[in-house]
Symmetry: D2
Subunit: 425 residues, 4 copies
């Protein structure tokens, strides 16, 4: 199939390229973009879209930025036109007036992006284009609207209903696995042997979301360890010398790493769906699984300690656990949500802060960002919705009693300290 | 796979259903729709979307119409809010003001539909929902805007880049084939034996577009006969007693039937892409194929004859051919485009009116709509773009010299007739 | 894939054919067969095997019979050579002497058949060849040895370990389904609609064994109904108006039809494996399934009645049940095994005669062969081995007490009758 | 699928194991083997075969050897019984006498192995069993017959017609790729990156034969480089810094490595089929490919040099080429076939010795075994059969004129040397 597909693709691309080349070779990209929006010939759409995507990918960063600016300003909405169309629709609601309003209220760059997407493999190219935009336009307020348009379209195209959950295993294609190695963002995969240790044993699982138009690109993946009892450190989970158990003997699924793969899909959220779908599927497959927890990093812990002048005592496990619990439960942003981004993610999914483990990640990164402390979030699917609602509506951070006790101890200590050493502030 | 998938789906659906049932059972659909748009809990989205789709599918036509009216009026844009947001964006273009404008300028029912789409199998249900809307709202101007919203979203979701071309053969699954039997709109398929005659021989092909989220539902399909020389009648192509040739011996591909399968995707155009992709693929597979033509019906011929008082002479083949050529070339709508819908489709794709065949479809339907006359459109991929541009820009109807001669003869005859028999008008 | 595969196959076949054609065109098939055994060139093997299979398929029945006779006599073992090789091996067991003995003791036609099998698609052609042999050589004792050779090779090639169990559903390819229609031997499938009723509902299943070298040809298939309680008639199982249940609600799986598909694989037994594998799989999939039974015909009942002068009373259900029980339990062949072939099959698998149903198959065929009576065999996987051993070793026919009572009643009645009417014999 | 398959397999295995365990646990393997041959219960066959394979795999080498000896002697043919059956068949050829002869002439261990093969995954276990036999029984003449029986059965089961050719690419499953790394026997694969360089570029291909019952185990694979002109060294082919070409630009396919993967399938020949099938497929896919050659090692060159006292002059390329040509063309075994095993393989396939390259493999292994010299065999599919016949019948070694000249120069030099320095011998 693949050979035949390649052959055909080649033929097709060649013809399409020829058609465009004739007419647009050498013209500025901006002109081609205009032509793409204006043409009513489907063949033209195809040829132009191909040519634009190819041309864009070979631009320098500066040229890309220039083109993004053109899309932002040259293809923005025209307020006057929107007003006229709006008035007309308000006066006489009809198919014609509504259609005119829709056309005026949507910037032309949205149609531009939709038309680019008609070429095979365009979706991946467009995701890459937004990655460029985010990278290059980070500090450029004039590009924010363009990014919102991308985001609007991507949210529609990467709708949960279009995504496909696929297991990643040692039997998966190598070109997918090398992406897992590259994209793992939490606990780095050192080598193919390291990867195999995370995929091949009977008590290890990995799942990813894919989009049918980007079948070779995982969007997000989660690594799961099936354990007897809860895991209290990442080094024991990833140890080369551990003895695997059978999947049927496991009572707990530990989600120990979740990685987003596509910078161009930033702010398009898949993680919550992924965890819940995987938990549901594992529960259906393995009768013995009763508990679903994470073993998660605490990425904001150091920064908060430094900012608040709360010094760590790394060699004192209990103190570290208390401090971390306190940080997770009580450190808040201005909007009242937790300071820690990973905590926001899991609490926002309806999970509960369940356990705090000291010396649970003694990698350099783990020690550096959280003094080796890790946290376990507990997913109770039956209560997730209620937790989620309370979290969103009331900023309620749900914990187990044990964690509450830890946090309270730290808060009390801090208070005392504050009283005793007022000069420090 | 299918068994496991079913199992998991069942578990999942059961849990999701339980979550919703508890909270929304018995509430009006409109209230659930509001809740779906408002919630920021992903689990809620899932549960509500499932429940709404299930509930909707069991409504009576009258209830559906009522719900559509709610979406139209209760979830329309608010012109005042749009104006405020527009002014703010115009005054201070920024991420915040643009986001606010986008939100105001898009009716909430679009987000409603997008959220419904997050449930597995929702896409097919939404296509069915629009089919209901088109059927029930045909004469209801207030529903036109709602339909435009559906169309806007579907155009984005059913973007050419997301569609998959798949061959349909006698080795295809029976549940797909029964849909081909059901949806064939041009030359009815009488039975499974009739279907087999169109799929199994080495000189017959069929291709369909599918969407990954509706893998069991062809969107549009085309039936192709591989022939030596061009076919001049549909009855010879479909004859039970014909002797197949090998595909390698064929020099011509005849597209003899194109059928849209989904009423809910009306006005989302796939046909042009389908023909070009199939032609490209067949050309790549079979070196001997040099000519790509259709054998097409002339559905508007009778109506035009009756309206213009141009009587047929069915037993006079040459006269019929001339009349049909004249009709196709010269009968125009107010906008200057051809009167015949099939002609508009193929000419709009850049094809050429190539041949006119008398007694080419002697089925009851064929005799009734066009006196048995059929037309062949010729696709020259190299020239399609130019033809298309001339057709769109200049309303140019391109024909072969032979067809031009036929049309001219009929036009002359008519003129003479008009001169001779002025009393008739 | 299929297109590419076809292409390549064509190229390959063409070259291979060319190679052979040059050298062997026109020579007698017998000479080509000799050459095939003698050559040590793999390319030659390929070319000759292709040519022989093609040539054979176009022979008349008489010519085929002639060729079979050649294989029987011209390629038989040479007793003198066997004796010499045997003596040598006995005197000096060694690699060389054993190899020589193996070669002498195996008729050359076995190697001939193995070499034919090297061509793509040869396996199906060889199965067809044996079907021809069985059809044409039925009364020809000289061909029996040849058939034993085929059987020996096929038993090795169609070893249970090489077979693949695949579900057949309404989503299966049409070219497989039409074979299911054609091969159904127990309860004829009238139409595609009838087929759909046996495949599509949630409480219907069908499974078949396939061999990887004949992926388009089911070898044997079984149709299963999932029911609540046991089914007591075939007409209720196949009724057009019945209401399906969900698979999860079923407590019983009824195997109501088992059909062998390949006459050329006669005496190569798959049925026992199929039933046990399907029962095991269904038990694993559906927790609720507790009972596995058949609803089986009694094909030898009429013949036995006529031969033994035991007249039926079709309108008297209880009498029919008793007679049938008596027949199944007590009517034996010379070797002590049951007279009824279906009974031999299921008892040989370790099943138990469980129930007798009157008016359970009121089709013409059912009434004709067994007066409408059917029998249910019960599979208890845990006891199957013991039953099987007792059946084989002691000719023990295991039944439920109810069936034993029925049979005893009939036997008693017959005895009385015999006593009362001695003159009848 | 895999999950479900695993689940079912587990259930099945558990039941089968239970059945056997009850009866045979603790009994000697020999007794279980007897029972396996004797039983007529299919369930018993299944249970026993599973148990025997499991038990065997955990034996020590000494125990395995003991079991092999039992199969050799305890399950050999009984000459007296063969004689009786042979006499009976000779006297009265019939189905019964032939069947009795077949049974007597085949050692019972063949049926033993066939019955073992009925369990899922047994085929791979049996291949491993023969690998053990070859390893342990190398010098044990009494085991030779047993090995011939394995070989006889494997030749039938691994018949070319049952094998499946599959491309191996960077998109292949990792668990297959790691076997390619492990089994590569000619030019060692150093790492996953090295593997990628041989699979991913557009001008690299790899193909393997698989057996449907061992889908995770390649049997043999070949690595191919698509080149413009012929490659003259392995280091240029495998260079990290080379620039790939497109497949369409290649005119030559270089088969640079062929590796058998299964020691247990020794002497079952696949290589010839593999090369020809791959050449045929590549020719069909890529119109530009005109030449099919190997770049092959000369593994026997050093040994021959040492044995014949023909010293190398590694820094003198031309001398090395002449010597190698002379060796390949003129060095013969007692049976008249070439001394070099790789030469025998390719000449036996009908290839031609085409070119000799000096410093073509400067790896340690290459320098050691052939002083860095490599040879290219040329495959002309049209002439392969004739070459093969001449090679087999007349021991004819076909070369290009250039190679003939090289060999003649070396032979002449050697003669002269022999004349001039008679004292050396």
């Amino acid at each position: 199939m693949s050979l035949l597909a390649d052959m055909l693709a080649t033929v097709f691309d060649r013809r399409a390229a020829r058609i465009t080349t004739r007419a647009y070779d050498g013209r500025p990209l901006e002109e081609m973009a205009e032509a793409l929006i204006e043409t009513s010939s489907e063949t033209q759409v195809h040829g132009l879209a191909s040519a634009i995507l190819t041309r864009f990918s070979s631009l320098s960063d500066e040229q890309k930025l220039g083109f993004f600016r053109h899309l932002s300003t040259g293809m923005d909405i025209d307020p006057a036109a929107v007003r006229i169309a709006l008035n007309a629709y308000e006066a006489t609601p009809s198919k014609a007036t509504y259609r005119a309003f829709m056309a005026a209220a949507e910037p032309r760059r949205q149609e531009f992006v939709r038309r680019l997407n008609q070429v095979p493999n365009a979706t991946a190219a467009l995701v890459q284009m937004r990655a460029d935009l985010l990278r290059l336009g980070r500090n450029d307020a004039t590009l924010a609207a363009l990014d919102l348009d991308f985001r609007h379209l991507f949210a529609s195209w990467f709708n949960r209903g279009f995504l496909v959950l696929r297991p990643i295993s040692w039997e998966s294609p190598a070109h997918i696995l090398e992406k897992v190695i590259a994209y793992e963002a939490v606990h780095e995969i050192q080598s193919w042997d390291d990867l195999r240790r995370r995929l091949e044993p009977a008590d290890r699982r990995c799942f990813a979301f894919f989009h049918p138009s980007m079948p070779d690109e995982p969007l997000i993946f989660v690594e799961v360890a099936l354990t007897k009892g809860r895991a209290s450190s990442i080094q024991s989970l990833l140890s080369e010398s551990r003895v695997p158990i059978t999947a049927n003997d496991a009572d707990t699924a530990v989600f120990y790493s979740i990685s987003n793969c596509q910078p161009g899909l930033a702010q398009i959220s898949f993680g919550s769906s992924l965890i819940k779908q995987v938990a549901t599927d594992l529960a259906a497959e393995l009768d013995g699984l009763k508990t679903f927890v994470t073993l998660s990093p605490i990425p904001g812990f150091r920064k908060w300690s430094e900012q608040t002048g709360t010094p760590w005592q790394i060699d004192h496990a209990e103190t570290m656990r208390r401090l971390a619990a306190h940080y997770l439960v009580n450190a808040k942003r201005e909007d009242g949500l937790p300071y820690d981004p990973v905590a926001r993610f899991h609490l926002g999914n309806g999970a509960v802060i369940s356990d705090i483990y000291a010396m649970a990640d003694n990698s350099e990164k783990g020690l550096s960002q959280s003094g080796g402390v890790m946290v376990s979030y507990f997913y109770d699917l039956a209560k997730a919705t209620t937790n989620q609602e309370n979290y969103i509506a009331k900023r309620q951070v749900k914990t187990t009693p044990a964690v509450k006790t830890l946090a309270a101890a730290a808060a009390a200590a801090e208070k005392n300290k504050t009283k005793e050493e007022p000069a420090q502030v």
